[in-house]
């Protein structure tokens, strides 16, 4: 019986259906738990879903590559969704224009803070050299961060992990931190979350308001550019 079950699993795992269904079921269960628990910051749905899927893959001895063959159909939609961020940005454009200088100044300050704080904290806490380079661009969206890390001798796939973890941390801890600091302006909240934690943060900001989502999406795009320009300069100056 056990053997038959594992045969069936191997058969199903070879088609995209299992990975897709597992991801959707886990995500909806995670969202349900998140809402039922009163939306606590640390029970972030992305975090819960990733933990559940990793647990199933490890327990069944399924490789990430096998999972991703199916899950890539969900992954693919990230591109179109990023393009679609133009829609809230367009709807909020009047507001963005009015605060163009503030956006530019905050973004630059935030982008530099992200790079310096990751390198500084990394050095203080003694992470190893390969991890350190891979940490520097982690607030930028994944493809940009991976490209930067690769150019400086880091590990792109490790950078992708840091980017995702930074996204989850920013999305879950960002809103309570901003409330604690009395930052109540939706534009400032969105900009802060998007600068620090790219698309995952933007997904969270969109749940609060279209204003926060628009500023977060804008910050994600601008910080991709700022990080690509700033990390090599900071790295050359420091090391």
């Amino acid at each position: 019986m056990g053997e038959r079950l594992s045969d069936i699993w191997v058969y199903l795992a070879a088609s995209p259906l299992l990975a897709l269904t597992m991801t959707l079921v886990a995500f909806q269960a995670a969202s349900w738990i998140h809402v039922k628990a009163g939306r606590p910051a640390l029970l972030n749905p992305v975090l819960l879903t990733v933990a559940a899927v990793v647990a199933v893959l490890v327990l069944t001895g399924t490789s990430y590559e096998t999972y991703f063959e199916g899950a890539q159909f969900i992954h693919f939609l990230l591109g179109p969704a990023t393009v679609a961020l133009a829609i809230p940005l367009y709807r909020q454009f009047e507001r963005v224009k009015r605060s163009a200088f503030a956006v530019a100044a905050s973004l630059l300050a935030g982008s530099l803070s992200a790079i310096l704080a990751s390198l500084g904290a990394g050095l203080v806490f003694g992470v190893d050299a390969a991890s350190l380079v891979s940490l520097a661009p982690k607030s930028a969206t994944a493809p940009v961060a991976m490209g930067i890390a690769e150019k400086l001798g880091g590990l792109p796939s490790l950078t992708a992990v840091f980017v995702i973890l930074t996204g989850i941390l920013g999305a879950s801890l960002g809103p309570p931190l901003l409330s604690l600091l009395r930052v109540r302006d939706e534009a400032a909240r969105g900009l802060a979350i998007g600068t620090a934690s790219h698309g995952i943060g933007t997904a969270r900001a969109l749940q609060d308001s279209e204003v926060a989502g628009a500023f977060s999406g804008l910050a994600m795009g601008l910080n991709a550019l700022a990080t690509a320009l700033l990390v090599p300069i900071v790295w050359a100056l420091l090391f």
């Binding site: 393009v83 133009a86 704080a117 992470v127 995702i164 934690s197 994600m220």
Partner: protein
């Protein structure tokens, strides 16, 4: 629905093409976002079906990060070995970035429609 989805994919394709051709340090979809934004600006409004398709994608944006997130399992050994220093670095730097950006924008970006606290 199809025209809207096609328009979004065309913007992304144009973005990927520009990224590959120019070597700009931006991913194709981010350039695609800028292109769609310019098109909307020229057009002066968001077509209804584009608003619906875009809204559906963005409403589920978190889900789309799950497949990449599961990739964490491929670096389990390093993450375990360096769990504490990496965890502390990630938490501190992320909080610092959010605090700096939010506070600067809050100070400079008063757009007038905000209740002061």
């Amino acid at each position: 629905m199809l025209p809207a989805l096609t328009a979004i994919l065309l913007c992304q394709l144009a973005g990927e093409t520009i990224a590959a051709a120019t070597g700009l340090p931006l991913p194709g979809p981010v350039i695609g976002m800028a292109i769609l934004f310019l098109v909307l600006l020229l057009r002066g409004s968001v077509p209804t079906d584009l608003g619906q398709v875009g809204g559906a994608l963005l409403a589920n944006l978190s889900l789309l990060f799950v497949p990449a997130g599961v990739g964490i399992m491929t670096h389990a050994a390093r993450l375990e070995a360096e769990a504490l220093p990496l965890g502390a670095t990630l938490v501190l730097s992320t909080l610092a970035t959010i605090a700096v950006t939010g506070l600067v924008m809050n100070r400079l970006g008063r757009t007038g429609r905000r209740t002061d606290g």
